[in-house]
Assembly symmetry: C2
Homo-oligomer: 415 residues x 2
């Protein structure tokens, strides 16, 4: 069975927002065996939307449409659904009550007329009640193809998809199983990996597909397959993954979803009952943000400091100013002192420290833009390295994050 | 003139990556007067790609294709271009030299055979040399429609688009001007805004389009128009924006691109020669990350601390432990102490402090999940507020960030 996702909104086509909904929907559909054939983003324009609906009907059994359900005049999805399904808008009492309840729950003023416009829905639609917003979802059918309309606000879309759409999809459609497994590797390029695993890749079973996903300092290798028997499917991919992981044992850090590199670090530190702190200069909080965004970091992560101004490295972190003067603020000597003192300040077993020149200007450093020093302080001593990560600010920060996690993981993995 | 973007890659359709390239390309094309009609994401599948090319040719004059140009076997874009344009792959000497130079520049080992596969290109293509990666871009034409192929790696795509594609687009096509201007507002909902500006909205000139872009605690209002005369276009939108900004003067914080809320804060603090520090508990570094991601923060931002473990609020930030015991770690009393002491520790004029229960578990707090206290310490004293931001971790963090910036901006804007 095939699905298509259609996202509606000029804001996508002028690049004002990044469409993150499609990735979320695709991933969730895959989990229940629904393959997404295509994702299409179209304008807030009746003719264009209708054309996209007609095209989708040709190759998909199930079409998810997001966006264009707001209470304001630029939102035209509901009227266009009526045109496509030869239907009319009628007032739905349950939606009115939902709007009133939401306003009460969040202690807002009385609903405005515009809010009640949300209760006008196509008469033939099955209404999918939205517990987290005023726009309801809709489920409609034409020539055996199901069309679902969801709000574009990610939080509301996610809840409606999970609570109302997926259970109905599971009931309504026969679906195979789809299984992906992705190995995370750090430290070797795509071509070098391809050369090393060439013979194995050439002999992969026909129904297993390998994909390479390179990014800064990291390559992900994904095996995918589709089939009727979930167990056979998983067993065959798991077996191939085992072979692959052995061939790449020096660069493999784990499997995606199961473990991000932060997840793997968390697991090891929790097992060893050890702790981590951070002193970030050039990464400016980008590492701490990645650690704390997921829940549960407090078991191993105690805290961090961003001494953005050079003097604060001395004042709060206790890096001797003589060291900074002698070796410059971007130096092995300073970054090691930052890491060691960070361990002491936060009373942790490990600390990561970064100092560098992310650019575009050189700041207080003496080296070229892109120069970065990273240190990991550990019970057995401090390790550090100096890099040049090029002259693009975002890449410098991103590469520093990946390298810092890689260095820490290597250190805590030692016995 | 109309463009279409086609992104190739199973990783998009299974939700493994979010397609950020399309938003970047759309925005850049808009700047030179090219309207994007549609964005389509398709699988690594020859038939599907060819179908998407045929469809795009029907409604666009210019098609940008990204992805599928890697050196590994799952990348089939070049061969599919050959099929579509009835062409064959030939070896390009300049690409070979580029690959060799790149390996030398980054001090890598010798290029592998897979790397040289990048030099096989369609014979009719104009090659767009890639200074930052081994995969070249391609520019080809069929029935007066231009097709451009770019690598999917964002950094390489961006450079090729700027250096090679946009200058050629400007030369090759007649384009109108497209102008967008977006007002940022904080603190009022979409429907309430719509009601307040209804009369003005109904009387907008036909060629100016208004869009509402709501997100957590924030609504963006965009005016868009297309025309031949850039000055007339800008003047008419600027005039309407002035009216709109006056109507919403209590909630408007500035214009997007021109000024994000961080940009506006930076501008005011720089003008006043004042400084900022942060003590983030529940936001775990998400605020500092937003401040430092753009270059130039060091002029007003001195540093930050994430005292993730409760004891560190006492040890490093000097919050009396008696205060924490008496009022709990998530309280007005504690957050104000955090903000005041943060100012002292970093010697700044202002400090933001956050403490709360982002969830899913309650941690050391006594209140419900979603409870957040935010304080802003300022020369005239400290202000603070307690909120409940619901039970979704990401939303709680996001709302806290937006509210903290809103509170700080209000405070520094006072005379």
């Amino acid at each position: 069975m095939l699905a298509e996702i259609i996202t509606i909104g000029d804001e996508i086509l002028i690049g004002q927002i990044v469409d993150t909904n499609s990735a979320y929907i695709s991933k969730e559909l895959n989990k229940v065996g629904v393959k997404v054939y295509q994702i299409t983003s179209v304008q807030d324009n009746r003719t264009h939307i209708l054309q996209a609906f007609e095209d989708a009907k040709k190759h998909a059994d199930f079409v998810i449409v997001t966006g264009g359900l707001g209470p304001t005049k630029d939102d035209i999805t509901k009227q266009t659904f009526c045109d496509f399904f030869e239907d009319v808008l009628v007032e739905d009492q349950a939606v009115i009550e939902n709007v009133e309840q939401l306003f009460k729950k969040y202690q807002l003023n009385k609903p405005l007329p515009a809010n009640f416009r949300q209760a006008m829905v196509p008469s033939k639609a099955t209404i999918l009640m939205n517990q987290h917003g005023t726009a309801p979802g809709m489920w409609m059918e034409k020539d055996n193809v199901v069309f679902v309309s969801l709000p574009g606000v990610p939080y509301e879309m996610k809840h409606l998809l999970q609570d109302e759409v997926l259970p109905r999809v599971i009931k309504r459609f026969n679906r195979p199983h789809i299984y992906h497994k992705t190995l995370l590797t750090y430290g070797l390029g795509e071509s070098a990996i391809a050369e090393r695993i060439e013979e194995w890749e050439d002999n992969l079973p026909e129904n297993i597909k390998l994909a390479y996903l390179p990014s800064l300092g990291r390559v992900r290798l994904r095996l995918s397959s589709t089939g009727k028997d979930e167990k056979i499917l998983k067993d065959s991919i798991d077996a191939q993954m085992e072979v692959l992981t052995k061939m790449l044992s020096d660069i493999a850090v784990g499997f995606e979803d199961e473990t991000s590199i932060v997840g793997k670090i968390a697991k090891i530190l929790n097992q060893k009952n050890q702790t981590l702190s951070l002193a970030e200069s050039c990464t400016g909080g980008a590492i701490v943000e990645q650690i704390t965004i997921e829940a549960g970091a407090s078991s191993f992560f105690l805290g961090s400091i961003v001494p953005y101004k050079t003097e604060l490295k001395t004042k709060i972190l206790g890096v001797p100013s003589s060291l900074i003067e002698k070796y410059s603020v971007v130096s092995i000597e300073v970054v090691e002192s930052m890491a060691n003192n960070c361990c002491k300040l936060f009373s942790t077993d490990y600390a990561i420290a970064t100092t560098g020149i992310a650019g575009p200007t050189k700041g207080d450093g003496r080296d070229e833009v892109g120069t970065v020093c990273i240190a990991v302080a550990a019970p057995r001593g401090v390790i550090s390295e100096k890099f040049n990560f090029g002259n693009d600010r975002y890449r410098v920060i991103e590469k520093t994050i990946n390298k810092a996690f890689e260095m820490l993981l290597k250190e805590i993995s030692k016995n």
